[in-house]
Subunit: 379 residues, 2 copies
């Protein structure tokens, strides 16, 4: 065995710092432990058991008893593409709400797939205003779907999804929800809120390595998909459903280690008392970080009442760049996240996702206080 080769690569990639990243986030040790299990055929009975069990646990976690939950060998953005190619008619219109970089990505995906994106943009740091959404839908009665970023990773803002969903449903439009940095960290009630497509990925609030996307879909999506031409093969939703139902699997080979990891994470959530307790943990982490950041004298980007439970975007102090804070924290052993998109320069971000202890948060905040103080002296 070439142990030295493993060591060579390990020495390049092992994280030297405590992780408060935007994703991939630090994974739970239990999840990492299962990642190294030996592989075997994805059509073997052993895989089918864990596939079925994972779907069952996700249906419960997402409260999607009526929804069709599917697993994809892709990142979350793959399901963004799937939503458009399967459920929106060629050339059809999608109202894309934009509160940051990932809303912009949804609009790109709409356009790159030959549909029309009607953009409804809000100031960075703000959530989607329900009244503005309602007005936009009145003015654009011909849109087929509305795309909403549940939690905008670039700004640390969470949208009031239940309220927005109600408006979308009142107008009888399809509701597509990008929940990449929300799923596992913010509540999703698929059936109750009338969602048509919602997707997340393994590497965010579930604390699992990247490579797996998770989607839940309404029956209406499959009815539309049957009529939509040129859906493609790779993100063909009826094909995924068929393989899921008939073979307890996916049309092409799935990322098995990540599925095993997610299964472990879902069992851990159950053991820790279920979804409510798990989501409360995220709320507690978020509050501790927000309180700490404000106490240092820094301002949050998110408007009050819409702060994300999974990531906090913070303005660097006057005269200091976000990247300087990020780099200084790196030097002290903490990997935060850089600012993203249009506000990259002015902000830095603190992720709350994955394997983080309250002790780690305390220590990170103490160091942030020192870093800010030093940078202000230097500026």
């Amino acid at each position: 065995m070439y142990e030295d080769i493993v060591k060579e690569v390990y020495n390049i990639v092992y994280p030297r710092r405590k992780l408060f990243t935007a994703g991939p986030v630090a994974c739970f040790p239990e999840v990492l432990e299962i990642m190294k299990v030996q592989m075997f055929s994805h059509r073997a009975e052993e895989y089918k058991i864990i596939h079925r069990d994972t779907i069952k646990r996700l249906k419960s976690f997402l409260e999607a008893e009526k929804g069709i939950v599917l697993l994809f060998p892709s990142s979350g953005s793959g399901i963004m593409e799937a939503s458009i190619r399967n459920a929106v008619s060629p050339g059809g219109k999608v109202l894309v709400t934009i509160i940051g970089a990932f809303g912009e990505r949804y609009a790109d995906v709409v356009r790159e797939n030959g549909r029309k994106a009607i953009e409804l943009s809000f100031e960075l740091g703000k959530a989607v205003d329900p009244d503005v959404l309602d007005k936009a839908l009145k003015e654009n009665p011909d849109v087929e779907a509305v795309a909403i970023t549940y939690n905008e990773t670039s700004t640390g803002v969470i949208n009031p999804l239940p309220e927005l969903a109600k408006i979308v449903k009142d107008h009888d439009k399809l509701l597509f929800v990008d929940a990449v940095s929300a799923m596992g960290g913010a509540d999703i009630k698929f059936d109750e809120w009338g969602i048509d497509v919602v997707f997340g990925s393994s590497q965010k609030a579930f604390g699992v390595p990247p490579g797996l996307a998770i989607g839940a879909f309404s029956e209406r999506v499959f009815e539309l998909a049957e009529k939509t031409p040129e859906k493609g093969w790779y993100f063909n939703l009826p094909l995924y459903r068929k393989f899921d139902e008939e073979k307890d699997g996916t049309p092409s080979t799935p990322p098995m280690p990540q599925i095993f990891g997610l299964n472990v994470a879902l069992r851990m959530i159950e053991r820790m008392g279920g979804k409510e307790k798990w989501l409360n943990m995220y709320q507690k982490r978020a509050k501790m970080i927000r309180d700490g950041v404000r106490d240092i004298g820094l301002k949050l980007l998110a408007e009050p009442g819409y702060e994300s439970p999974t990531i906090t975007a913070v303005f660097a102090p006057e005269g200091v760049k976000g990247l300087d804070v990020y780099n200084a924290m790196r030097d002290r052993g903490f990997e935060l996240a850089k600012g993203y998109g249009k506000i990259k320069e002015k902000t830095f971000r603190i992720g709350h996702m994955g394997y983080i202890t309250f002790e780690d948060i305390k220590e990170m905040l103490e160091n942030l206080r020192k870093v800010v103080s030093e940078l202000l002296k230097g500026s």
Copy 2:
């Protein structure tokens, strides 16, 4: 730490048998060891180093110094879709050579993406006949591309790719090569053979878990892609190239553990003496299995001269089902592969890929001899 949860899941999925699967295949212990490394941001320097190093090693392995090598968070089939959406004009024609189930998949992908598939099918067990290909290209001068399955996993046949490539180039058509079960086990000379798209996946001859696809592309593909409308976002090749060149990464989050695993595998290949020695090992494994199977009195599906170096499809003895051989071998501790596609009933398959020792092969063949003898007595 919930060690019992890890054990629960491990007990469902750990492989009880020696693996001779069609993929996912048994992974090298060194690769599994790196799979459990803690995660971090894919935009961090540590990831960029390993990304760049992996691409560099792949370029050398595929002899694609002129080619653009890219990594994808998908299965190999994702790049099948990418080839069509990026390089073939909407409604354009692709000549799809079919020698088994994966050629049929390529034709499906062509059609599902709104292009026309001209199917050129050969009897199962046969390779593509160069003269027939030449004739088909003369009869269909308007096809834009030719799709070839380098190694057909369902029949255990390897195509004479250099010879076929020459014909495709003589007709000045694009050459798309599905090398999913070939890459890492059969030679690929990207530049020399004039390939335009070739793709493989992590879970085959490299012996790495599934979740990662590898593609090499010619400059011509990118020139065409710039003009092709509605390429989509998820498999948009110019976007992948941009992120690879400018950020040493992918547009959306990549399957980091599998990339680290592939990097370890590529370093191992180098240490074991480089590509030629590694491919010779595959040839030796294949010969040992073919000789053993013939010695038992069984017939191969592949026509002589075109036997795959990575997988062998075998006819079950007269009066015995392929599945019966598969199941009896499972009972004896060997996981072979079931027959696939139209010849599922009559055949079973023996994969040669990944972590397999010559001792394992010997033991597997001894057991196969007993199984065949017992099944023949019972039939």
